[in-house]
């Protein structure tokens, strides 16, 4: 048992869980002093492999919940007039608005892919790595959107009513804490998973085109109705299609949906 604690720490198992494992195995050896439990490194590796499965799933579900919370928070505080993409209130506000839209969409797509992967019950380290990578991208993009929302809030502060300002500050801080906690969970799942290349599951191009078309259609129709202008809807649709193509090119390989 001497080296077991160190080996458990090496694979990312520490604290109460490590103490519990050592106590359980010590009890086993008291029951059967001749038992062959294996070398400490081997035992620690087995625990890491088994625990990486539920930890990855849990961190993905936790991450998705934190992102959903962040999205709702941003949506509520933006309904007071915070979000502005087209520069009516200055370029800082506009950049912040673009950051919220861009980060939010990347986060949504990566989060849905991660959730889909986790629901399919991944078992091998390569499958787990892919889910972890998608969750990581979703959390990073969600954090980016949240930071952009914070920038916007600071920039539009003089124009906001006190009530909306009081709402906007916790709407940035509380979800940031939730995302931080989800990132911590993901980090511990990654530490347990053996290092290997994630398995890629490329999407057929037809599916990518169909999803892109659906996203652009929603943007065109939604904007046209919201702004009472088809010109506005079409211009946002063009931006959406450019953004979609760029994101697929930049993040597709990292998310395991293109070769």
């Amino acid at each position: 048992m001497t080296g077991l604690r160190a080996e458990l720490a090496r694979v990312g198992i520490r604290g109460r869980l490590a103490r519990r494992i050592v106590l359980e195995l010590e009890d086993h050896l008291r029951c059967d002093p001749a038992a062959d439990l294996g070398a400490p490194r081997e035992i620690a590796q087995r625990f890491a492999e088994e625990l990486s499965v539920p930890r990855t799933r849990r961190s993905t579900y936790g991450g998705f919940a934190a992102l959903a919370f962040a999205a709702v928070s941003i949506a509520i505080s933006s309904s007071g007039g915070g979000l502005d993409v087209f520069g009516a209130r200055g370029w800082v506000v506009s950049l912040g608005g673009l950051g919220v839209v861009f980060g939010g969409q990347v986060s949504f797509v990566a989060g849905v892919l991660a959730l889909w992967g986790a629901l399919r019950r991944p078992r091998t380290p390569a499958e787990l790595r892919l889910v972890q990578r998608r969750t990581g991208v979703a959390l990073a993009a969600g954090g980016f959107a949240l930071a952009a929302h914070g920038v916007q809030t600071v920039a539009v502060q003089p124009l906001m009513s006190n009530l909306w300002l009081a709402l906007a500050i916790p709407a940035s801080v509380v979800p940031a804490l939730a995302l931080g906690s989800a990132a911590h969970g993901l980090h511990s799942a990654i530490a347990l998973t053996p290092r290997t290349e994630p398995v890629a599951r490329p999407f057929p191009y037809r599916a990518v085109i169909a999803i892109g078309t659906a996203a652009v259609t929603v943007m065109v129709v939604g904007s046209a109705f919201a702004e009472h202008s088809w010109v506005e809807g079409l211009s946002r649709g063009v931006l959406e299609s450019i953004g979609f193509a760029l994101c697929f090119a930049i993040f597709g390989r990292r998310l395991g949906i293109r070769r």
């Binding site: 009890d27 086993h28 008291r30 062959d36 087995r46 625990l51």
Partner: protein
Amino acid sequence: MRAETLKGHLDVLILATLRDGPAHGYAVIEELKQRSGGAFELAEGTVYPVLHRLEADGLLASAWSTAAGRRRRVYRLTRRGRAALAQRRGDWQSFVRAVEAVLA
């Protein structure tokens, strides 16, 4: 029996071992050995990580208990664990029936 052969079935075997009541890790291993007539003599080090995973999945619950001055982690089936056991047992029986029908 080779450990590799058992690997895919270890979850259901452990769940079945705990069906009759709570037990600690050593007792689970002994029960497996006994019920299988010695065929399932597993390397001890493989069972504990699986017990931990099944607990993390919510199929088992565990708590410390003290017996004769010794602290032991005792595992029991949860309601989800019972449901999972029933389902996997059904799957296994269908599989066995199908294989037997092919081999007959």
